[in-house]
Structures are given as structure tokens and as C-alpha cells.
């Protein structure tokens, strides 16, 4: 069993390494375009709702805490605590997705979704009169939606995984001797959280003056 636990843990860490490479491609594209089109990136970033972004960050950090507490509860054999913390994780995860949906809807209303009806009206911070290149701004939003969309997809998968875990935790499957699925899913959830920790400053906090 020890060998199986080690093996599945190594497997999850390797999978997370692949995920780093996966998101890395988009971070690479972001890096290049931010260097080239900094003014428009700053303007577009300032148009994102920083309150909602910050709330979402706090939500995810708390959800990582509840995941850790759920794993700990399993380690000390407390079934009810496991269930409560897993349920809280799910609630927080769904809250994150809900807030994301709100943000994206407002982006739609502001015509910030790339495509034929894209039109960006924002201002470059520190240079109020400077004309904003629409194409450059659109690149920011293309990357914004690609990156947060891919992240949200991983959150949805995480929500699915944790629903599964919640059901089986409630059935009493996870004990101090066997809670490997909780640990490994926890690793996955923490990873998705960390990706957001990188996304938030890179997307929301470019050249924020306030």
C-alpha cells in the first residue's frame, strides 16, 4: 500500500508538471505581448474589476485552506469534519466560478470580448489622451479569456472531482489508513489555486495606480 501511495503521489506530481508546461505556453505568449504592447495591456488591465478579482483570489485561497483541513480530518479519522470541509471547498469553488461568470458577462456588455464587435474604450494609465490601438488591446483580451477560460475549465474539473470525493467521504471511504485520493486531489486543487495566484497580478494588476 505504501508503494501504491508513493506511486500515485508521484503520478499526480508529474501530471502537475505537465499542467505547468500547458499553462506555460500561454504565459509565454502573454509575456511577449505584454513586453510589446505594454500601454494597451495596462489600459485593458485597468478595465478589469479589481474588487471581483481580489474577492476571487481570497475565495480560492480559503478553498485551499478547506482542502487542507479536509485532508487533515481524514488523517485523524473524523468523517463529519471531512464532509464539511469538502462541502465548503465545493461551495467556494462554485463561488469562484460564479464570480467569473459575472465578470465575463460584464466584459460582454462592454464589448471587450474579442471578435467582430470588439471595441475598447479605456485609457492608458498616466497618458489620458493617448490613442489606444484596438488590435493590441484585443490581444490582451484574447489572452485574458484564453487563460482565465482554461483556468475555469480546470476549476470545473476540480469541482467535479471534489463532488465525487464528497460523496465517497460521506460514505466513509477515507480513513487514516487510506485517503490517497483526497491528498492527490488536494494537490490538484492547490495547483489550480496557484495558477490563479499568478493570473491575478499578471492580468488584473498591470500598472494600477489606485
Amino acid at each position: 500500500m505504501e508503494q501504491q501511495r508513493d506511486a500515485s503521489s508521484l503520478g499526480m506530481w508529474l501530471f502537475l508538471a505537465t499542467e505547468i508546461m500547458f499553462f506555460g505556453g500561454m504565459f509565454c505568449a502573454y509575456l511577449i505581448y505584454r513586453l510589446w504592447y505594454f500601454p494597451e495591456f495596462a489600459a485593458a488591465s485597468n478595465s478589469l474589476d479589481i474588487t471581483l478579482g481580489t474577492v476571487n483570489t481570497a475565495v480560492l485561497i480559503c478553498s485551499s485552506l478547506t482542502v487542507v483541513l479536509a485532508v487533515h480530518a481524514a488523517q485523524i479519522g473524523k468523517r463529519q469534519a471531512q464532509v464539511i470541509y469538502l462541502a465548503l471547498t465545493l461551495v467556494l469553488g462554485l463561488a469562484f466560478l460564479g464570480i467569473k461568470a459575472v465578470e465575463w458577462t460584464s466584459k460582454f456588455r462592454e464589448h471587450h470580448i474579442p471578435g467582430t464587435s470588439f471595441h475598447f474604450e479605456g485609457e492608458i494609465p498616466g497618458h489620458p489622451g493617448q490613442p489606444v490601438d484596438q488590435q493590441h488591446a484585443q490581444i490582451f483580451f484574447s489572452l485574458y479569456f484564453a487563460m482565465t477560460g482554461m483556468h475555469a475549465l480546470h476549476m470545473i474539473i476540480g469541482v467535479g472531482i471534489f463532488s465525487y470525493l464528497l460523496y465517497y467521504a460521506w460514505r466513509g471511504r477515507y480513513t487514516p489508513e487510506y485517503h490517497t485520493p483526497l491528498e492527490n486531489s488536494g494537490l490538484y486543487w492547490h495547483f489550480v489555486d496557484i495558477v490563479w495566484i499568478y493570473l491575478f497580478p499578471l492580468l488584473y494588476l498591470i500598472d494600477r495606480k489606485k
Binding site: 508503494q3 508513493d6 506511486a7 500515485s8 508521484l10 503520478g11 508529474l14 501530471f15 508538471a17 505537465t18 499542467e19 508546461m21 500547458f22 499553462f23 506555460g24 505556453g25 500561454m26 509565454c28 505568449a29 511577449i32 505581448y33 504592447y37 474579442p114 471578435g115 467582430t116 490601438d133 488590435q135 493590441h136 484585443q138 490581444i139 484574447s142 489572452l143 484564453a146 482554461m150
Partner: protein, 553 residues
């Protein structure tokens, strides 16, 4: 000895359960390997079919067999099918899946159900790709360069991209399985330095699969999004940069070629010591060179972009690194040669393929150095020189390694011997056909014939005709093994556990192995390739005719 007088066949993984469901829902790595064998053979036919059409068109200088757009689809789909659905899975998914647990003394891979999932993902991807091909195909080249693929092509780019994305998942999961298995499931006494070099090669391959494939996955996602939503990430008329696509694409696709060649090198490293009756020369060097190729292979991608518009300084650095990455490959060639020196050589079929590999891979590799030289590359890039170069490595190298491995381990996989003289004949046909097909292409490229053109100046016709003639011979060489392997399943000599008197744990269990691989768990206290302690096999009996086989039964 009575070759087919077997009363009760021992329990093995083939006869343990019957029925299609026991195959489609198996978690036995050996059965999954055979599932992969069938599927990749199927895709090899598809890719080969496109190749034959290409060569038919190129028999004449005029574009008279197909239209230009169709020709674009032919070379695109030849490339995509061969790279993603044949070469990348071939050795790891068939021979790797079958042998990795056996070679390290394990009962199965670390994650048997994920192994089956890998196969299903491959099948789903394959079906999607087939559907894409049957409903119009793709014409962007297997390289999907933007903005043609994202904005201008009228073909099924999104579907092809998604198919390759899903097949990438299959590749990643196989790699993950291998790495965890090799780390955590070795038998007692099987230290890292006692591992067969086939395992080291697959370990290095799996690292590349894990780290590289996600990058092309995300690149294809961006291409699909860009095409579907009219974004501008790769489109210069919308603020984007086509070179960004090329960098992202080649960051995976260069290491991908090492995914295709490293396993074949691992196969050759198993065959050469066995048929030289000598331990491998320089075990540590060969093991570390596999890791070296994996690491350095990630640092050279922009040698595919020397004329794309990168800066001269970047080109210089990538050129130097590309020279560096040839070193570990050369180390292997030297070690194989040194192994054979003063060895007792048997020219069995696997050994013929290994010889073919060593010669042809060396030629392909050396021409890679020609291409890494900036001055030469400017002239021969996007010509048939490049095509010849990579076919020497991928066909002359990887496919020969695959065939050699299939012959070497066929007794273990099927419990039967293939007919040895037919095997040698087929190897010879493959070698001759291959050289006739691809050597003229070096000359064509050097003389200036561009790649991906469906018509060409008349002065190139003779060489093209030679190349097409060679391809038909090559096709015969490939068909022969398929026929006699099938034949051998029913009429072949029953194979003993170790027909080649080879070293390695896989030879210490029966042919075919039982479902859980070893009747008695292995404990290893000997070094790898200890051929001085293994007596050579007896001279094999001459092949028996079908008549004799039937009488004996």
C-alpha cells in the same frame, strides 16, 4: 524436437480469457500493447497510402494526378498521421507497454487503468482524425503554420487540431505511467544501473512526452480558439505574431522527434549485445546519453526557423546547440560499434534491422548537422534535402528500430517464431527499398527541388522516378512481415522462453508470459547484459515447411 507437439498450452496472457470484452476492457499491459499494435498498424497503412499517392503524383513533373489543393492535403495528412498516430506511439505504446514491466520485474504498470484510458484516448483521436480526413482533410502541412491555418485555410483545421490534442493526452499518460513505474515498481535488486538500456531510453522518452506534449496541446488550443473566434494572437494583420506560433509549435515538435527516435535506440541497444554475445560497451555512457538527448533536445527548436525571420544571434546560438545535441547520439553509435568489436556476430533478422538502423540513422544524423550549419541551411531549407534527412531518421531509424524490436520480441509476445529466412529477406527488401526511395531525395534537395510542391521542373524527373520505384519496393518490404507474423501465430514454431539466449528479465519468463508476468517474483542480483555468463543459443533448426508442421501436429 517436436516443434508443435504441445498437449496442454500453458496459461498465458493470450489464452487466459477469451472474448472481445476481455480485450476491450483489459488492464493487462500486454493486451493493451497488442491493442496498440493493431491500431498503429492501421494508421501506418493510412499514412502509407497517402505517401504512395504523393509518390505517384511526383512520377511526372506536371501536376496531373491530383489538384494542387488536394496535393496539399495529401502531404499534410501523411505527416499528421505518420507523426502523431504512428511514430510517436509506435515503440513506446507497443514494445514499451509490453516490455517495461517485464524488464523491471513488475506485474504491470503503475496505473493499469490509465494505460487502458491512454489507448481509448488514442482511438477517439484516431476516429476524429479519420472523420476529418474523410470529410475534407487539412491542407496546412503537418506544421499548421499561422496565419494560413488560423485565418485562410478552408479545411478542417479545428477538427484535426482537436484530434491531435486528444492524441497528445494519450501520449502524456503513457509517459506518466512509465516514469512512475520505473521509479517505484522495480523488482528487489533491480537498481538503476542494472536496468536494461531499453528502460533508460523509455524513461528519457517519457520525460520528453510529459514536459513537451502539453506545449503543443496549448498551442493547438490557441490555434483552434483563434480560428473559431477570430482572435489575433498569431495574425499579423490583427496585431499578432506568426513567429510566436512557430516558437510554441517547434518547442514541442523538436523534442517530439526525440520521442520518436529514443525508443528505437533503446531497441537497438538490446539487440546489438545479444547478437554480438557481448555486454554493451559503456553502459553509463549510453544511459546518460539518453538523458542528455532528452535535455538538449529541448534547447534546439529554433533550428526549424533559421529562415523564418529570427535574429542572426538567435540563429547562431540554436545552431551551436544543434551541433551539441548530435554528440549524445554519436556516443550511442560509437558504443554500439564498440560492442560489436570482437563480438560473435549473428546476422539474425533483428540484427539486420539494427545494422540498418545504425547506418541509416548515422546518415540521417550527419545530414542533420549539414542543416544545423546556417550557411547550408539557407540553401537547402524547405527542399527535399530536409525531407530526406528526416525520413532517414524516422524511417531508416525509427521504423527499422520498430521492426527490429518486433522481430526480436515476437517470440515473447506471441509464443511463436517467425520464419527466419523470410525475415532476413524482408529486412533486405526494406533496406534496399528505403535507400532507393530516399537517397535520390538528398540529391533532389541539393539541386533545389522544393518540398510540398506538386509539380517540378522536368530535369528532376529521373530522380523522382527512382524515388517512387523505391517506395513500391519499400511497401513490399513492409507487407511481408505483416503477412508472416500473422502466419506464425498459427503455423510458426513454438518459441521457448529464451530463443535468443538474451539477457534481461523478460526472457526469464515463459513465451508468452502469464498474465501477471512472473510465476515466481524476480530478485535481481546480476548486472545487466552479463553475456559472458549466458551460453550462446544452439544454431536454430532450418525452417520447417507448413507440410511438416501439419504432420508434426
Amino acid at each position: 524436437m517436436a516443434t508443435t507437439a504441445v498437449t496442454a498450452e500453458r496459461d498465458n496472457y493470450l489464452n487466459q480469457e477469451y472474448g472481445i470484452k476481455t480485450w476491450l476492457l483489459t488492464i493487462d499491459h500486454k493486451r493493451i500493447a497488442l491493442l496498440y499494435l493493431l491500431s498503429i498498424t492501421f494508421f501506418f497503412f493510412i499514412g502509407g497510402f497517402f505517401a504512395l499517392l504523393i509518390r505517384l503524383e511526383l512520377l511526372t513533373p506536371a501536376g496531373d494526378l491530383v489538384q494542387a489543393d488536394t496535393y496539399n492535403k495529401l502531404f499534410t495528412m501523411h505527416g499528421q498521421v505518420m507523426v502523431f498516430f504512428f511514430l510517436i506511439p509506435s515503440i513506446p505504446a507497443v514494445l514499451g507497454n509490453f516490455l517495461v514491466p517485464l524488464m523491471i520485474g513488475a506485474k504491470d504498470l503503475a496505473f493499469p487503468r490509465i494505460n487502458l484510458l491512454s489507448w481509448y484516448l488514442y482511438i477517439i483521436a484516431g476516429v476524429l482524425m479519420l472523420h476529418c480526413m474523410l470529410t475534407g482533410g487539412v491542407d496546412t502541412g503537418w506544421t499548421f503554420y499561422t496565419p494560413f491555418s488560423t485565418a485562410f485555410s478552408n479545411t478542417k483545421v479545428i477538427e484535426a487540431g482537436l484530434a491531435i490534442f486528444i492524441s497528445g493526452f494519450s501520449s502524456i499518460l503513457t509517459g506518466l505511467n512509465f516514469v512512475v513505474t520505473i521509479h517505484r515498481m522495480r523488482a528487489p535488486g533491480m537498481t538503476w544501473n542494472r536496468l536494461p538500456l531499453f528502460i533508460w531510453a523509455h524513461y528519457a522518452t517519457s520525460i520528453i512526452q510529459l514536459l513537451g506534449t502539453p506545449v503543443i496541446a496549448v498551442t493547438l488550443v490557441l490555434v483552434v480558439l483563434e480560428r473559431a473566434l477570430h482572435l489575433g494572437i498569431f495574425d499579423p494583420t490583427r496585431g499578432g505574431d506568426p513567429l510566436l506560433f512557430q516558437h510554441l509549435f517547434w518547442f514541442y515538435s523538436h523534442p517530439a522527434v526525440y520521442i520518436m527516435i529514443l525508443p528505437a535506440m533503446g531497441v537497438v541497444t538490446e539487440i546489438v549485445p545479444c547478437f554480438s554475445r557481448k555486454r554493451i560497451f559503456g553502459y553509463q555512457f549510453v544511459a546518460m546519453s539518453s538523458i542528455g538527448i532528452a535535455v538538449l533536445g529541448f534547447l534546439v527548436w529554433a533550428h526549424h526557423m533559421f529562415v523564418a525571420g529570427i535574429s542572426l544571434y538567435a540563429a547562431l546560438i540554436f545552431s551551436a546547440l544543434s551541433y551539441l545535441v548530435a554528440v549524445p547520439s554519436a556516443i550511442k553509435v560509437f558504443n554500439w560499434t564498440a560492442t560489436m568489436y570482437k563480438g560473435s556476430i549473428t546476422f539474425s533478422t533483428p540484427m539486420l534491422y539494427a545494422f540498418g538502423f545504425i547506418g541509416l540513422f548515422t546518415m540521417g544524423g550527419l545530414t542533420g548537422l549539414f542543416l544545423a550549419a546556417l550557411g547550408i541551411d539557407v540553401h537547402v531549407t524547405d527542399t527535399y534535402f530536409v525531407i530526406a534527412h528526416f525520413h532517414y531518421i524516422m524511417v531508416g531509424g525509427a521504423v527499422m528500430g520498430y521492426l527490429g524490436g518486433m522481430h526480436f520480441w515476437w517470440p515473447k509476445i506471441s509464443g511463436r517464431m517467425y520464419p527466419e529466412s523470410l525475415g532476413r529477406l524482408a529486412a533486405l527488401i526494406v533496406f534496399l527499398g528505403f535507400n532507393l526511395t530516399f537517397f535520390p531525395q538528398f540529391i533532389l534537395g541539393y539541386l533545389g527541388m522544393p518540398r510540398r510542391y506538386w509539380q517540378y521542373p522536368p530535369e528532376f524527373q529521373v530522380l523522382n522516378v527512382l524515388s517512387t520505384a523505391g517506395s513500391t519496393i519499400l511497401a513490399v518490404g513492409y507487407l511481408l512481415p505483416m503477412v508472416y507474423f500473422l502466419w506464425s501465430m498459427r503455423y510458426g514454431k513454438i518459441a521457448p522462453a529464451n530463443p535468443w539466449a538474451a539477457s534481461g528479465l523478460e526472457w526469464k519468463t515463459s513465451s508468452p508470459p502469464p498474465t501477471f508476468n512472473f510465476d515466481h517474483p524476480a530478485v535481481v542480483d546480476w548486472e545487466a547484459y552479463d553475456y559472458e555468463n549466458i551460453p550462446a543459443p544452439e544454431i536454430p533448426a532450418p525452417p520447417i515447411s507448413a507440410e511438416e508442421a501439419r504432420i508434426a501436429r
